[in-house]
Amino acid sequence: MTVETDSSSRFADYAHPERLVSTEWLAEHLGTPGLVVVESDEDVLLYETGHIETAVKIDWHTDLNDPVERDYIDGVGFAKLLGSKGIARDTTVVIYGDKNNWWAAYALWVFTLFGHEDVRLLDGGRAKWEAEARPYTTDRESATHVDYPVVERNDADIRAYKDDVLAHLGNPLIDVRSPEEFSGERTTAPAYPEEGALRAGHIPSAQNVPWAKAVAEDGGFKPLAELNAIYRDGAGLIDGDSVIAYCRIGERSSHTWFALTHLLGFEGVRNYDGSWTEWGSAVRVPIVKGAEPGAVPTL
């Protein structure tokens, strides 16, 4: 790793404490060679209203998604994007954003598809930084272009496609959407726009653990003991489980993927980014309505 990790005791219990940095750590390390701070928000203009000094902006929609196909950018596109943001293959990247790092976690997951090794989240994101009255700047993004190698995306380890989910039935599924979406009362998050799913409900046998349950009041992640109570005691996950998480388009479940993988230490957790907007419109896939997970179907 290029830049020292945050060794604060707050993160010590997590499986991979090196994946988080505190606001204090970031404030002390701003400007350190080898560190690039990335802001990734739901609102595409929020960065322009004020951002952490030196931070560059990466937008989930206009930067990370392929503009034509429903997929992520390829290795050439990723190399071009990161190079333009001053990020080299061995750069330490710290990502933060609005909405409790919802989109920051999504960006981190996409970085991981390309095997970028040292990518971390700022615990608490924008909300915590602001609550602590830390400064923002409205300076225009300025990054010195560097070379980033073309690395092909490896989806197999942490990304699930629809067919993978069908083959996975019988193993744990975590549906991180709101209870209303899970039960089938609605197809979108409360107060969110319709993004087009023709059927409502959830994938049979999925446990409903809304993503925000992993978030503490200050916007950071809850301590390990509380996360264990939610995901192990509550949702019944045990070590060695193969887990797939999903939501509506794979953004909220990236946040849960981060918690399961880097904080709780589950291996091989996959994010189904097709999520409900694919499953809820696909032909002849099983769906369960109501608050109960439902039985594993025989296919």
Binding site: E42, D43, V44, L45, L46, E48, T49, H61, T62, D98, A191, Y192, P193, E194, E195
Partner: protein, 144 residues
């Protein structure tokens, strides 16, 4: 029927179109900063406002029609600058127009600002919905 765009809206569109993608974002931010505060008769009565649920962030609008002239009021949080920008474009662009002029604004006006590439078509949809709800409120208020 092809209707000519009212002057203010046409100017706003021209201002966006002549900029490059990055500068269009900056202009949208300027609009966001210009969104006027709600008059107290609405800020003290949030129940009068209608939420535009198609937008990702909470945005509320209210339309008044006085002597056939439309007045649009809107509010959205500071941390939702894109949505504030959309609202501000409509508040400024529709100011002083007659009922018929507003109803004649093409429903796809938001798609003509060149913002799809800058902020994604999904996000532009929120502004289309805002215009649609504005027109619906006008129709309801003038139907009686």
């Amino acid at each position: 029927m092809i209707t000519e765009l009212p002057e203010t809206l046409a100017e706003i569109r021209a201002d966006f179109i002549e900029l490059d993608t990055r500068e269009r974002l900056q202009l949208l931010l300027e609009f966001a900063n210009e969104l006027p505060e709600l008059p107290s008769r609405y800020s003290e009565h949030p129940d009068l406002l209608e939420q535009v649920v198609e937008c990702q962030s909470p945005v509320f609008i209210f339309v008044e029609v006085n002597d056939g002239i439309v007045h649009l009021f809107a509010t959205a949080p500071r941390e939702a600058p894109t949505t504030r920008g959309f609202a501000s474009i409509l508040v400024q662009g529709l100011a002083g127009l007659t009922v018929q002029q507003v109803l004649d604004v093409p429903d796809d006006f938001p798609q003509d600002l060149g913002l799809s590439e800058a902020i994604s078509p999904l996000r532009v949809r929120g502004m289309t919905a805002m215009l649609g709800r504005t027109k619906r409120q006008i129709r309801e208020k003038t139907a009686a």
